[in-house]
């Protein structure tokens, strides 16, 4: 049971971080379908940082490891998301095509990079696996019997940050105006392009962070050919279910996280083992639930009005 709660909290953290990323980007007016790819690249940054620390600085303190992994994952996410921002904001590309390209490119690039590093280290090693058994332990701490993860704390901070930024600061309110009616925002002197860039880059930082949390959940190595198994899109479903509001996104993420966690730990429950279902059924669960939830809630969706439409200053 404790294991189920731990995993639920971990997967909910991933979903909250990435869905908040989507939330920032969509509130500024850009649909970020590339979150999946951004997660992969963020995860790559974090995983490489961990394996480098394990090899070159084995004595590094836990604090250094935690901070450097978090910062580098976010940095990778930000840099990678700028590819989306350039194409969608400045060159008015189709946001769906560019987002899809970002996803495919993320997995392909991560695989190529990891394989190149592995092969350079050992010519016989052609796998796309990065290992981080030792440094991963720096992220864990215990409260009573519970094994918690610093990422959960970071997620709470991100949640508070998102709520305050979006609703209590000039910057957040202006950004949301750009997602609702960019022409009106421009008419009162807000630079729509800048705001959209800010939205996409923040989503890159949060998406990259979500990526490293995802690949460290439960495993100590990651095969980058797998990408992140549609988690970026699950996060978008969480965001829609959460009606683009941080506090509701957190609740939605807990629900989805629970179903994802079940597929990891169902063998620990006697009655589920007794059902004798193939493991594939549990793997399918989060996706089935999200489809049902979306079907029930999308009708009255409160999406930002101008999302997905490139802003053209000269258009009336």
């Amino acid at each position: 049971m404790t294991l189920l709660i731990e995993y639920t909290l971990l997967y909910a953290s991933v979903l909250i971080l990435v869905a908040l990323g989507g939330c920032f980007s969509e509130h500024s007016g850009v649909i970020n379908l590339g979150l999946e790819g951004i997660m992969v690249i963020g995860a790559l940054g974090g995983a490489l940082t961990m394996s480098t620390i394990a090899q070159s600085f084995p004595g590094a303190s836990a604090l250094v490891i935690v901070l450097s992994v978090i910062l580098i994952s976010m940095l990778f996410g930000v840099v990678y998301s700028s590819l989306l921002a350039v194409a969608c904001i400045n060159f008015k590309g189709d946001q769906t095509i560019v987002g899809t390209a970002i996803n495919i490119l993320g997995t392909a690039a991560a695989t190529v990079i990891v394989k190149a590093i592995n092969t350079a280290a050992n010519p016989n090693n052609v796998s796309s696996v990065v290992k981080y058994i030792q440094p991963k332990k720096a992220f864990l701490f215990h409260v009573g019997d519970f094994e918690l993860n610093w990422f959960m704390v970071v997620t709470l901070i991100a949640l508070a940050f998102a709520y305050i930024t979006l609703y209590k600061t000039k910057f957040g309110l202006r950004m949301m105006a750009c997602g609702e009616h960019p022409q009106a925002a421009d008419s009162v002197g807000i630079n729509v392009y800048k705001m959209r860039w800010a939205g996409v880059l923040i989503s890159g930082a949060l998406g990259g962070l979500g990526g490293i949390v995802y690949i460290t959940a439960g495993v100590s190595e990651w095969k980058f050919e797998y990408g992140v198994a549609g988690f970026g899109f699950l996060a978008l479903a969480v965001m829609i279910f959460g009606q683009w509001k941080p506090q509701r996104i957190a609740l939605a993420a807990l629900l989805f996280g629970l179903f994802r966690a079940l597929s990891n730990v169902y063998t620990g429950f006697d009655f589920m083992v007794a059902l004798n279902l193939p493991s594939g059924v549990y793997n399918m669960m989060p996706y089935i639930i999200s489809l049902i939830v979306l079907a029930l809630t999308s009708k009255k969706s409160r999406a930002p009005k101008a999302e997905g439409i490139p802003y053209d200053k000269g258009q009336r």
Binding site: C88, T100, A109, T111, V112, P123, Y287, L291
Partner: protein, 386 residues
Amino acid sequence: MNLKMRTLLKNNAFQAILSSLLCILGGLIIGFIVLLFINPGGAWEGITDLIKNFMNYDNSKVAIKYFGSTLVKTAPLLMCSLSILFCYKVGLFNIGAAGQYGLGAGIALYAALAWGMPWWICMILGTLAGGILGLLSGVLKAYCNVNEVISGIMLNWISLYGVNILLTGVKESTSPYTISVSGANKSAIIPTLGLDKLFNNNQYVTLAVPLAIIIAVAIWVLLEKTKLGYELKATGNNKNAAKYCGMAEKRNIILTLIIGGALAGLGAAMFYLTGYEQWNCSASSVPTMGFNGISAAFLGGLNPIGSIFSSFFIQHITMGGAYLDKTMYCAQISDLISAIIIYLCGFVLFLRYMMNIRIARKEEKEALAAKSISDDAENNKEGGEA
């Protein structure tokens, strides 16, 4: 820039081909730079091996056999790209093609291996399976306002795990792969109609290859020459206007995704019923064919005829990746190149827009210049009279 050149640049088809070629060039250049970074010594050889694919064999008989294999895998890719471009013309982004392809493969293989059906029934069942998955996305989109991209991705994963469970019943006991179709049920192999002889007895070159091309032409006719195609495209351009003109916009959305799904499902049947490859029942990623279809569709300028060529090209470099020197590079470089090509396709509209604006500006300038010359001449004439 002379006049002939300019009329050529204004031509839509020419613009589309030019921008696709630029995307390919860009993708290859960036791929080359990546190879240089990984290992500068073998980069040039690497990129040429990748582009040559089957032409790496000096023996023309072997080369033509592998040319056949590239065609065998081009057929399903073409079907996936047709699925995506057909839906895109109606304003829908069918990213679910990968799942429709997977389910089509699952049902076709199950019918062949568990029920011992002949190939054409397996093919029809695979097509139907893809169509039903498309129907699901369509209903969710039309009646529940669920974005087809998100429902498509969810259905991709659901169908992947579903097919894994289904085909575990007909897999080999010692490996995660399904039992071979040609061994278990000869009647489920698509007939070759003698095409295998053309490719040095490559038994996998079947009826599927010409059939895929015929379907591409049929999709072009459907989109450009029929009332239904016109209605579907109108719905894609403006849903509300189409509704106002009395077109059933909900029906059109659903119908489009059914056709899109059926195309992807048929593509899977065309491939797995040749026996070229078996399904891996412990696969943990969605078939890449559906995603490569996106590259092929956009690279082909969203034209069914164009996508015949772009599908071949994408498949050509994907298989070319296998000829890279394994001690230096990995085959995924090809995926990287096709991903960069899709990314660059995102800029195509902007590129064409800029091209048109430059031409229009130049023409305007020339018209003004011509006018001022004639004005001057007139002024001179008036001056002379005064």
